[in-house]
Amino acid sequence: MTINEAQDQVIEEFSEFSDWMDKYAYLIDLGNSLDPIDEKAKIPQNLIEGCQSRVWLDAEEQGGKIVFTAESDAVIVKGIISLLIRVMSGHTPDEILEADLYFIDQIGLKEHLSPTRANGLLSMVKQIKLYALAFKAKS
């Protein structure tokens, strides 16, 4: 599945929610079922310190593709992380660098990626791209 196919799938899923409560209940579910990041990866270098919540992001290369794992102390943030990972993980550095993340806006969660939220998500997206850049430079 391409990045855009995955984004469209998420948009499709969220289109079923007519009210924001259902949407957030789903995000909480996603957050609660997100695979925890390896304890060994919970190191300061992987920590994105937001003012409101913290995000840990780790990346490794598997056969030319980058696999991301991430976690947060806030469940809603974890839910959004789960979506970001579903869309971005398992792709080549070029695919990740070229990706335009339109799904966040379309499912009405844009506010969570605004700099004023300070929840670490915006920095996480930037960090995902930086990892892609770094892996590309290495290969």
């Binding site: 409560m21 957030y24 209940a25 909480i28 409101q52 913290r54 102390d73 806030a74 809603i76 943030v77």
Partner: protein
Amino acid sequence: MDTTLDIAAIRADFPILSRTVYDRPLVYFDNAATSQKPRCVVEAIEKVYYSQNANIHRGVHYLSQVATEAHEEARQTVQAFINAAESREIIFTRGTTEAINLIATSFGETFCNEGDEILITGMEHHANIVPWQLLRDRKGIVLKVVPFNERGELDMEAFSKSISPKTKLVSVAHISNVLGTVNPVAKIIAEAHAHNIPVLVDGAQAVSHMPVDVQALDADFYVFSGHKMYGPNGIGVLYGKEKWLEQLPPYHGGGEMIATVTYEKTTYAELPFKFEAGTPDYVGSVALAEAIRYMQKFGLKAIGDYEHQLLQYATEQLMKIDGMRIFGTAVEKASVISFLVRDIHHFDMGTLLDKLGIAVRTGHHCAMPLMHTLGIEGTIRASFAFYNTKEEIDALVAAVDRVQKMF
């Protein structure tokens, strides 16, 4: 609620309170961060700009005199508000933060040397921590912190023991912005004075919730911000006893604060102008005075009593929620409630409360050392003003209960 205040009429004075967010009525419980403004305060700003705007203190022309008089009358209004002995003891600053920085710099440079100690408490806002750390970096002073008990009350025994011959100043919050604790500042001041140590009181959270009399307290310095007391942003007050202010050097240099300037030597103006370099906020001062008159119309005692009822009601109702954890249960407490439900993250709770139209603060509330002491990353904080109602608290409690069930 048992009050003589006409809350509906008071709410009508604050246009913003009738707006909606996400199609729901706004419930504004972030008053400890900043209060909303009554119409009269905004009109006061408009009036200055539309009919009497001129730079002050240096013009012979008519408007400049009108503006100067208004600014100085505002100073007298502030003086009377906190019962300072002299209007020259009232220095206008940009806010509490600038006022504390002023003292940390001017007092610190004059009276503090390496190894000297500044005493603060474990419940200070960053504004009453970081300026002293900057002084520590410059002068090698030692910052000592008085702990608090499980209710969030200062450990007064530890306070007494922390005082040493090296203590140069005690700097303490009148009311904690996180725990709501009303600290026994009169007692603290009396004890510090017994050792000839001056005391700075951070009154940012106090002046809009209780009557403050700096002479009765015998405070050496008392600081607060306009925007937390229904006044405009960008103006605040440093009260200082004349005997101290006279001994301190200026903080900023520039116009207004000089007597004579030559390239060889400059002499400084008298109080209060020595500490007010540059064009002062003569618009903000006038609007601040209006905010003070507005509060005085109802009386700080009546305001505080009503807010206390809101606090008690909210505490009782919130405690009915399973897993409710309230941080700060001091006997003397102002209308601030910091809480968590079970281990639900403050960001998650705050995000969903926001969707329900409830404005609360989440996070560390600029008091990260306090959060470390409590062993948490942050809280949800609901803080009440006298325009808030029992019905709004019901809305908060229902919202918290609804949200906590989602986790």
